[in-house]
Each structure stands twice: as structure tokens, then as C-alpha cells.
């Protein structure tokens, strides 16, 4: 883990460190060599850690006032909003915090896609990241059920019913998940338990994610390996700490805007109606961050295949390091990939938009085309592109494009100024 020996200065520190090398770990984290060309897209790891801690702390506080019972959950949430001191603030931070968490994680994921951060030797970091993303979706979905409003109830019904698509055992699994014959009190109490558990699982995986990151070190916008020891890196503290801190402040301004000015804009008005098992809201939609996958689910006219397509759309990401056959990491040096990258971004945004619209007519047609393209991108375009594409020459070091002498100086420089 450490590339150099470290000895604490004080005697007590040395005594402690010999028994539990926490100070060695702290030293590794502060001195950790970081590519000096990292741009602001690299600050989202820190922002995501902040989001996770925020959700855990506010969630803990909410759990002190919330009652996980079908008859009382809805009222206890209103009690938090009206009676509990600063309850409104804490709940709005938690509810909008989920959206902010996903906003940050999507930027983080698309950063990896652009700069090829998932490629060798960082496949394990990437796969752990995908598992974290899946757990985030599970936590967000179950958290949304807890207020026991109409969207909570019907969202829970629709999502748990996805499992009924499994041949033979599907119905049994759904009954087992519900603890009854419909979404009801047993479902609510177990969702509360799991919603409480998952953030701590994520925390554990984040430790593994960072550990795996610290083995090869960060990727960087140029996407070439840094040469150690060299002038290509800066120590994590204070350089990256300050940069991350500044980005976090900017992020918190956006966060605070939602919490204080439009705390309900990302939610659904229907969720302020208590759950009613006899009436389905006219238009059920998940939260915005799940919409692209929801669009994929609805674009397939067969139940089982729709569920398979939706799950594949997420799981296909785990195979990405092997589907992308190009050895070049950064899209800066892949002129064709760069265009397909932006088409994919547009494709996912379109899927998100049609996911929020009724599944009929033109919307359905667009959703089908966009779904087909999504899979085409990963299963056909990426493998073929890596073999056919003529990439631009790579600089010899990450310092070279800045100091000059690189054959593709202008490309690298222009791209960098754009990115920054």
C-alpha cells in the first residue's frame, strides 16, 4: 500500500503505529501521488463521499422520528415536517440529497466513460463502482417507499412486481418480498430495515473502491500512465484537498438551492396523498434518476424481456472494460469515440425524457429507437471502434502537452482548456 517507509516523529506515535499502523495509512492518504493534470470532473469522488455522509447523518436523525408502520408512516413524516424542530430542513436535505447523490454519480460515471477510467488496470474499481450504483438504486427506491404516499405504494408495487416476470418461481418470490399478498405493513417494515442497512454496505464498498483506486493511482485527462517517480504528480494534500473542497462548495450551492428554494420540484405531488391500495395514480413515474431504465423497461412489449432489457442495461456496464477493445483510455485521443460518447450522452438523456412521458405513440417509438441504440453502443460500436479507429498520437508524459514538444500539442491543449 505505501511506496515509502514512514515513521511517526513522536515517540507515542511510533509506539501506537507499531501496534496499529493508522498513522501510516493517514500518511499514505495525505502524500498519495495524484496526477497534476486532474480537472474538475475528478472532484466528484469527494463530492460523492460528502453525499453519502450527508445521507447517513440526516437519515439517522429522521429515523429517530419516523414510524415504520402502514397506519402511521405517512402521519409521522408530516409530523417531522410540521412538529419536529428543523424536521423540514432535515427531511428536505435527505430527500433532495438523494437526487444530488445521483446527479454526482452520473457525472462521475460519465467522467469514467469519457476518459476511459474503467480500462486496465482499473477494472475492479469500476466493477465495485457499478455495485455501489446498484445499491444506491435499491436504497433510493426503498427510501422512496417509506413516506407511504401514493407514489411510494405504487412504485413499490410496480418494482416488486418486476420479479414476477421470472418464470415459475416469480410469483413466490414476489409474495416472499411482500410478506403478504400485496404491498402492506410487512413490506414497509422490511424496506425500512434494508434502507437503513444499505448505506453502511455502500460505505464499506467505498472503502474498497478507494483502496482499489490507490493501487494503480488515478487515471487522468490524458489517460496515459504517470511515470513514477516524476514531476507528473502532486501530493493529495494540500493540492487535491483544496481543489475538491472548492468544487464541493460549488456543489453545495446547487444542493442548497434545491433544499431552500424548490424542495419539492424533484418529487411528485401524488406522494403527499396517503397510500391507497384501491386507486393507482393516473401517471406513475419513478424519480428522475431511474427514468432512462424505466424507459427501457416500457419500450419492450413483453414483460419478461422488458425486465431482462432493463437489468441488462445496468449490468452491461460491468462488462464495459472488455467490451471496449481500444487500448487508448482518454477520448481526447479517440476522435470517433468522442462523437459516439456524446451521442450516448444524448441517447441516455432522451431515454430519461421519454421515461417521464406516457408510453404511447411517438414517445414509445423514440424510446424503442433509443433503447436499441443504447445496446448498439455497448455491444457493437465499442468493440468494433476499438479495432477500426485511428487514434491520435499520445504524448510521452502528462507534462508534455503543457510544456510543449508533443506532436498533438494543439489537440491536447484545446481539449484541456475546454474541459477546464
Amino acid at each position: 500500500m505505501s511506496d515509502h517507509e514512514y515513521t511517526p516523529k513522536s515517540k507515542v506515535g511510533k509506539w501506537f503505529n507499531d501496534r496499529l499502523p493508522l498513522l501510516t495509512l493517514a500518511n499514505h492518504l495525505t502524500d498519495y501521488p495524484t496526477p497534476k493534470n486532474l480537472n474538475y470532473w475528478w472532484t466528484f469522488g469527494g463530492i460523492l463521499t460528502f453525499c453519502l455522509i450527508t445521507q447517513i447523518v440526516t437519515g439517522l436523525v429522521l429515523a429517530m422520528h419516523y414510524i415504520a408502520h402502514a397506519d402511521m408512516a405517512f402521519d409521522s413524516v408530516e409530523h417531522i415536517m410540521r412538529d419536529v424542530n428543523y424536521g423540514w430542513l432535515i427531511r428536505y436535505i435527505h430527500a433532495n440529497g438523494a437526487s444530488m447523490f445521483f446527479l454526482a454519480v452520473y457525472i462521475h460515471i460519465f467522467r469514467s466513460l469519457f476518459y476511459g477510467s474503467y480500462k486496465s488496470p482499473r477494472e475492479i474499481i469500476w466493477i465495485i463502482g457499478i455495485i455501489i450504483y446498484l445499491l444506491m438504486m435499491a436504497a433510493a427506491f426503498m427510501g422512496y417507499v417509506l413516506p407511504w404516499g401514493q407514489m411510494s405504494f405504487w412504485g413499490a408495487t410496480v418494482i416488486t412486481n418486476l420479479f414476477s416476470a421470472i418464470p415459475l418461481v416469480g410469483e413466490g418470490i414476489v409474495t416472499w418480498l411482500w410478506g403478504g399478498y400485496s404491498v402492506d405493513n410487512p413490506t414497509l417494515t422490511r424496506f425500512f430495515t434494508l434502507h437503513y442497512l444499505i448505506p453502511f454496505l455502500i460505505l464499506g464498498l467505498v472503502v474498497l473502491h478507494i483502496w482499489a483506486l490507490h493501487v494503480p493511482g488515478n487515471n487522468n485527462p490524458v489517460g496515459i500512465d504517470i511515470k513514477k517517480p516524476s514531476k507528473d504528480t502532486v501530493p493529495f494534500h494540500p493540492y487535491i484537498v483544496i481543489k475538491d473542497g472548492f468544487a464541493l462548495l460549488m456543489f453545495m450551492i446547487v444542493f442548497a438551492f434545491f433544499v431552500f428554494y424548490t424542495p419539492n420540484i424533484l418529487g411528485h405531488a401524488d406522494n403527499y396523498i396517503e397510500a391507497n391500495p384501491l386507486v393507482t395514480p393516473a401517471h406513475i413515474v419513478p424519480e428522475w434518476y431511474l427514468l432512462p431504465f424505466y424507459a427501457i423497461l416500457r419500450s419492450v412489449p413483453d414483460k419478461l424481456l422488458g425486465v431482462v432489457a432493463m437489468l441488462s442495461a445496468i449490468l452491461i456496464l460491468a462488462a464495459l472494460p472488455w467490451l471496449d477493445t481500444s487500448k487508448i483510455r482518454s477520448a481526447v485521443f479517440r476522435p470517433l469515440y468522442k462523437q459516439f460518447y456524446w451521442i450516448l450522452v444524448a441517447d441516455v438523456l432522451i431515454l430519461g425524457y421519454v421515461g417521464a412521458m406516457p408510453a404511447e405513440g411517438l414517445y414509445l417509438l423514440i424510446a424503442r429507437v433509443a433503447t436499441a441504440y443504447y445496446f448498439l453502443h455497448f455491444l457493437v460500436i465499442l468493440p468494433v471502434l476499438g479495432l477500426k479507429e485511428k487514434s491520435l498520437p499520445l504524448p510521452l508524459s502528462i507534462t508534455e502537452p503543457i510544456l510543449g514538444g508533443s506532436p498533438n500539442l494543439s489537440t491536447a491543449k484545446n481539449r484541456e482548456s475546454l474541459k477546464n
Binding site: 410496480v158 410487512p186 391500495p277 414483460k303
Partner: protein, 169 residues
């Protein structure tokens, strides 16, 4: 395998793994099964409904095992329409005679077989029900005609206790 003789130690290992696996299973199963419907949930197995106030062409919705059940008193036209459909036109072929023993009364789970939403009454392209969640159209017999739902809406076990009372479950 043949040249290597099974000795006493191999036997002990295999026996230990086997007992260990049985023990682990015996501990894990209660942890899994506790999530299945409990005795109090199972106890709510049947519901009796008085249908004397339902006029022809009207549907009432009652709750049975936490799920809505549609009870529709169908008009003569609706029965004729439901019974005239050819089986070849259906995604999930079932005759209306099988679904509604007493043609005047259609009793079925008001749960879309796609993902469990409650379909809306007298909507959709087939004059029956329409599920707003993902656009499944059902006919006046509750059979799936268009959309992602794989099967017809389910018919629960029910019986007429007397002329005006239906017992579901």
C-alpha cells in the same frame, strides 16, 4: 480417482462438510422463511360481499387480501360482446364462459398482470379496462388484448353464497 484410494481422512472431511452444510441450511431457512406471509396475513383469506346494490353496467371494487377485486354486473350487450370474441384473437386464450360462470357477474382481481397496477374501468380500446401504468388494454371479460401484460386478469376463487352475496377466497 481410481488410483487414489479413499482414506479415512477423506471420509471425515466429506462427512464434516455434509453435516456443516445441513447445519447452515437449517439456520438459514428460518431467516428466509420469516419473510413469507405470516399467520395473521394468511388468516384474512376470505371476504363476503353484498352485491344487491350493484346495477347492470356498474363495477364495485372490494379489498381482498390487500388487493382490489372488481365485481362487474355486465349488461346483455357486454356479455354478447365478451362471448363473441374468437379465441384466435386472444393473447391468452380463455373463453368468457370459463371466466364468468354466471355471465352477468364478472369477478376478477383488479390487478394488472404486467406490474400490478389497478386498471381503470370502462377505458381503453376494448371497452373494458385500461392500465395507466404501462398501457395494457383489457376487454369486457378482463382478457388482455393489447399492451405489455402477459396474461388475462386473474379470476379468484369465489362462490355465490346466496343470490346477493359473493364469497371471495
Amino acid at each position: 480417482m481410481s488410483e487414489k484410494k479413499t482414506n479415512r481422512r477423506d471420509f471425515l472431511f466429506t462427512a464434516t462438510y455434509a453435516v456443516g452444510a445441513v447445519g447452515a441450511g437449517a439456520v438459514i431457512w428460518p431467516m428466509i422463511d420469516q419473510m413469507n406471509p405470516d399467520a395473521s396475513v394468511k388468516a384474512l383469506a376470505s371476504t363476503e360481499v353484498d352485491v344487491s346494490s350493484v346495477n347492470p353496467g356498474k363495477t364495485i371494487t372490494v379489498l381482498w387480501r390487500g388487493k382490489p377485486v372488481f365485481i362487474r354486473r355486465r349488461t346483455e350487450d357486454e356479455i354478447a360482446e365478451a362471448r363473441s370474441v374468437k379465441l384466435e384473437e386472444l393473447k391468452h386464450p380463455e373463453t368468457d364462459e370459463d371466466r364468468a360462470k354466471n355471465p352477468e357477474w364478472l369477478v376478477m382481481l383488479g390487478v394488472c398482470t404486467h406490474l400490478g397496477c389497478v386498471p381503470l374501468d370502462q377505458k381503453g380500446d376494448y371497452n373494458g379496462w385500461f392500465c395507466p401504468c404501462h398501457g395494457s388494454h383489457y376487454d369486457i371479460s378482463g382478457r388482455i388484448r393489447k399492451g405489455p401484460a402477459p396474461t388475462n386478469m386473474e379470476i379468484p376463487e369465489y362462490e355465490f353464497v346466496d343470490a346477493n352475496t359473493i364469497k371471495i377466497g
